[in-house]
Symmetry: C2
Subunit: 311 residues, 2 copies
């Protein structure tokens, strides 16, 4: 019997690491890194991040598409998706990285670091009496795998954490709210707001001028999700007016962020180049292997995506 093959495509992820990690898990699987696709008939699985338009059409026997990341918005928005199960990556390494990014960026504000950095540039010993962490209110928008873990970790440090999602969740130590009215409340009551929402038609532009105006004066905003969840022009205005005091942004409407973009010139914005979280092949390959084994047996893959719902 011909060995079945997986086709790999990504401009960010390392094919060598993925080949090695998958060979450990599924030794009888052939690994093809684009453009060395081998026999297209043998390719039954696609492991891809933003492949070019028409990519999937080359593989008539495709039985599974695995998205190389947690956010499937760019995948489900395509009009060339084959009619096969779609699965997204879920791995502990990705969760740990996102949690570490959120902990870093929230604690940076909770511990008044931007003000201290500005004082340091002036050569000034500027003591700021620390507030107890329990007096600092943090809202986390989006309580999927990444958001739930980040919210729990923030609560574990002693911060006062409220989470918000479309549907009601239960997370130890976190006050969880759901629905549109609750969103307004969460925006209005928290000093630090963290966005970890999936990008879907419902969340596209969800944080606009109206929502930014609802936040507390001097609020700090952290976006580790997708740029399009926020209305960038509205955010630029709110930052310029000082209503939003600080922002940490990992995702943007256009990436790389264009050289002339106003964010570059804003001293109260920390820009990170979309690296809050990435897939760690050694850990993620276990789940991908399980999905491949399940599809070989005619079963549904793990972490199936509902292409209509968008996540």
């Amino acid at each position: 019997m011909m060995r079945d093959a997986v086709i790999f495509y990504s401009q960010f992820d390392d094919p060598v690491a993925w080949r090695r990690a998958l060979q450990v898990e599924v030794p009888d699987l052939a690994f093809r890194a684009h453009p060395d696709i081998g026999d297209p008939q043998a390719v039954r699985y696609a492991l891809t991040w933003k492949p070019p338009a028409g990519f999937f059409a080359a593989f008539p026997n495709l039985a599974l598409v695995v998205n190389l990341g947690a956010g499937v918005d760019s995948l489900v928005a395509r009009d060339d998706l084959p009619d096969v199960p779609i699965s997204r990556l879920q791995d502990d390494g990705m969760v740990s990285l996102m949690t570490s990014y959120v902990l870093f960026s929230v604690l940076r504000y909770a511990r008044d670091i931007p003000a201290l950095e500005r004082a340091q540039r002036r050569g000034e010993w500027h003591y700021i009496h620390p507030r107890p962490l329990s007096a600092i209110k943090v809202g986390v928008l989006g309580l999927g795998e990444l958001g739930a873990a980040a919210a729990a970790a923030l609560a574990h440090t002693g911060l006062d954490v409220t989470g918000w999602a479309r549907t009601q969740k239960v997370i130890a130590g976190v006050r969880c709210m759901a629905g549109p009215d609750a969103l307004d409340e969460v925006l209005g009551e928290n000093e630090i707001v963290v966005i970890l929402l999936p990008l879907t038609p419902e969340t596209h532009g969800l944080i606009g001028a109206r929502e930014l105006a609802l936040t507390r004066p001097g609020a700090k905003l952290i976006n580790a999700a997708r740029g399009a969840v926020i209305d960038e022009a509205a955010l630029i205005a709110a930052l310029g007016a000082g209503h939003i005091a600080e922002a940490t942004l990992d995702a943007f409407n256009v990436e790389p962020l264009p050289p002339a973009h106003p964010f570059w010139g804003m001293e109260n914005v920390l820009i990170t180049p979309h690296l809050a979280s990435i897939t760690v092949p050694e850990q993620a390959a276990r789940d991908v292997a399980k999905s491949i084994r399940r599809v070989r047996l005619g079963q549904a893959p793990l972490h199936a995506v509902d292409a209509r719902r968008g996540y």
Copy 2:
């Protein structure tokens, strides 16, 4: 019977918050904030941070000195200490704040933030592929109440954590080592080194030129303990040479850090004005009240300090 009184002295801590917090815990205790000392005969307890020389001699009936902080080095070094039990503060608020400071400063390095900030100042989208947290080795020197909590929290994020103390400790998720030879090993094997040692005659200048030379090229150093644990001149040389790539410093030989100090001009040093952790009266007052009640009954206070050992 005359009400017994506590005398409060600190240039940093808030007497109003302490008065309120202690009144909740020990309603029949009189609270005197220096210089309103009232009847010195009534003062049986001192709650102080760096009171002036000769301070204690004014109170002939003193039965307890509580140090308003975790580090008792400046207290036990005095030659005017009364011969009464000495107790140091231990409170969850202080532990949470220190843990939050250490999490922030370690994750800042683990997530390559200084390099991203420099790129941002150049207006450059500089992607740095994140390493899994488990591949980043962190050493924590000092495993007292603060060090142990910080080491455990770092391990909880997924970082690879080794702890070192004078005596052997056991902390879940942390490889614990003890003794002088192990110190050299911990310095040599960890990319990020966090100092949370008490200042004692043994730790004074413990991290000198020899110890800094033992660290990995490009190591990052975080000092949230006392300035004098590090030989500052040696650290300045190691930072200048780039052997130590980055430092986060909360404590210095002279505080406030003098305007002409070389640290101010170093782009690879983050200076915070000794605020990594402070006492939170509402939480700490419970322990202080317990110690006062114990001393009233002729018992030893909580968290007694061995003045000879120094902690």
